[in-house]
């Protein structure tokens, strides 16, 4: 293997994340949540390749989380993998229905329609109190792991490494997907949709594929977050959370799959420590960080890193506003 910063640094980060919980146990749940969110951010990044930004992707995060919670409730604790699977399937199913509608729109309208649909779901979660637990949400009992009942400590450890493996796997597959012909076609929706149609390809269907993939990633993240948190609330589907996903995508760098996870790790760290040590102004701190990133490093942390190491991050690291 060629020894260069571009391969060494990401490997070191993965290694550091993998061992950190052993050294500092309190970071474990935080990392689990950060990686779960990172999966959702990865979904947002998929859509950003097509130049479309959804301000409602928390919808799929929430759909999956609630589906997992219902599975857990309905089957007395449930099995972790069935919860994850049903969560993802639920978000995929919803994404087909919503997707067929929203892929007809672009830019602001695309963003706003996603926002509207997610707000409808959010409102329904709050309204149907007797089913969804209203704003208090539902508690998610600790599920079995491959049939084994575990104590909190052991389970959290298992869950953390499972999330880590899933995150790495999802990142790799998404990377492959974005580099494949259809991934590249999705990116042409951003640059020249008319020409794509003149290649005999339906831009809407292409975007729909990307939309479903992104919803699946959000769904996986949502179900994992639900299990890690032990509770699901309508907050999972709120527009501020959708905004947060987009925020993290830009922070990490929308050009690469790694950006999703680097961004979410950094975001959770800043958020947690800011709210612990500067409780009054944690939102302000996050806002200022975001402003700095956009104004001075619009391609995010991974873009900055790629620039420092003199190579382009893959697969789509074109500097914004070129």
């Amino acid at each position: 293997m060629q020894f260069n910063l571009r391969t060494v640094v990401p490997s070191l980060i993965v290694l550091a994340v993998a061992v950190l919980p052993l050294l500092a146990p309190t970071t474990q749940v935080l990392l689990t949540l950060a990686l779960s969110k990172g999966l959702a951010v990865l979904g947002v990044i998929v859509l950003l390749q097509a130049g479309q930004v959804s301000f409602g992707h928390a919808l799929f995060f929430g759909v999956s989380a609630y589906a997992a919670a219902f599975v857990g409730k309905g089957f007395g604790g449930g099995e972790l993998f069935s919860m994850l699977a049903i969560g993802v399937v639920a978000s995929l199913a919803i994404s087909v229905v919503v997707g067929l509608f929203v892929v007809r729109y672009r830019h602001i309208f695309f963003g706003m329609l996603n926002l509207a649909v997610s707000m409808i779901f959010f409102s329904l979660l709050e309204k149907f109190y007797h089913v969804t637990g209203g704003s208090d949400g539902l508690s998610v009992a600790r599920p079995l792991f491959l049939g084994i009942e575990m104590e909190r400590e052991g389970f959290e450890m298992v869950l953390f490494y499972l999330v880590l493996v899933l995150a790495l796997g999802a990142a790799w597959l998404t990377h492959r997907f974005l580099n494949s012909p259809i991934g590249n076609m999705m990116r042409t929706i951003k640059t020249n949709e008319v020409r794509l149609e003149y290649l005999g390809v339906s831009a809407r269907n292409t975007l729909l594929v990307g939309y479903i993939v992104s919803a699946g990633l959000c769904g996986l993240g949502g179900a994992l977050a639900a299990v890690a948190q032990g509770v699901v609330t309508p907050e999972y589907a709120w527009w501020i959370r959708s905004g947060e996903f987009v925020f993290i995508a830009i922070l990490g760098g929308s050009g690469s799959v790694g950006g999703a996870f680097v961004g979410s790790l950094l975001y959770e760290a800043v958020r947690t420590y800011a709210s612990a040590f500067a409780g009054d102004v944690w939102q302000m701190i996050l806002g200022i960080v975001l402003l700095f990133v956009i104004l001075f490093a619009p391609s995010g942390i991974t873009g900055l890193f790629a620039r420092l190491t003199g190579r382009k991050a893959s697969p789509a690291s074109e500097e914004a506003g070129q």
Partner: protein, 250 residues
């Protein structure tokens, strides 16, 4: 005249906000020709291309391709039936390299690809490299298209259209924007590629030198009406054409 009619327009009319842009267009396009459409600005030539490739829908009239009514089809449906198009302003994927632009077109044409196999490894890669060779762009295969001069962008644009293996290719001013010193060179490359690919072509052009050199048939067009049609020598030397069309252009 027993040549096969590839595309036929009957009684097309289109309006933009109440203004009639083209009226009663009737034209047949025969297989195996390079037909040039000339006419003054605002004569509705690009509009005609937009209608024939499905980008605009006419308010009246019909378009037939291979004998079938295709009036209401979208561009992508027409492409799949064999109607391709190159653009006056090259329509490229500006975040991709030259080769990637073609690979995307190749993948789109073949429709055989896995969502997890990289674009650069598709089976059509070889054919696309050959196509780049044909348009003399092999040396810039890895350059981002956004960095290319206009002449090369035009060539890439046409190569993308050819990658779709069309039966009929529409070209909207293939040499506009190309420096006049390069025009003939660009055109020769295109002509050679078209011949090799055995494509029927229709092109809109303002430069009569180009028309003369490249077309084997010319249609003079005004407000949707075909005034003259015939071999370049006859049409371009017709006094009315010189007065009404060429006089304005040259």
């Amino acid at each position: 005249m027993t040549e096969r009619v590839l595309l036929e327009a009957k009684g097309l009319e289109i309006r933009f906000g109440g203004v009639v842009a083209a009226q009663d267009i009737n034209i047949q396009i025969h297989e195996g020709h390079n037909l040039a459409i000339i006419g003054p600005n605002g004569a509705g030539k690009t509009t005609f291309l937009n209608i024939c490739t499905g980008y605009l829908k006419p308010h009246k009239g019909k378009v037939f391709f291979d004998g079938k009514d295709v009036t209401r089809l979208q561009p992508r449906h027409l492409v799949r039936r064999g109607v391709a198009r190159a653009f006056q302003i090259p329509q490229l994927f500006t975040e991709h390299s030259v080769l990637e632009n073609l690979l995307i077109a190749g993948a789109a044409q073949s429709r055989r690809w896995s969502p997890f196999r990289p674009l650069h490894q598709i089976p059509e890669r070889k054919a696309m490299l050959h196509l780049l060779d044909m348009v003399k762009c092999s040396h810039i295969a890895d350059r981002p298209v956004s960095e290319l001069p206009e002449g090369q962008r035009k060539l890439v644009d046409i190569a993308i259209a050819l990658a779709l293996k069309p039966k009929l290719l529409f070209m909207d001013e293939p040499t506009s924007g190309v420096a006049s010193s390069e025009k003939f060179e660009v055109l020769d490359i295109i002509a050679e590629a078209l011949t090799e690919a055995k494509v029927t072509s229709v092109f809109v052009e303002h430069d009569m030198g180009i028309v003369d050199r490249f077309a084997d048939e010319v249609a003079v067009w005004n407000r949707g009406e075909v005034l003259f049609r015939g071999p370049p020598d006859d049409v371009l030397n017709h006094p009315d054409v010189i007065r009404d069309v060429i006089g304005e252009e040259v």
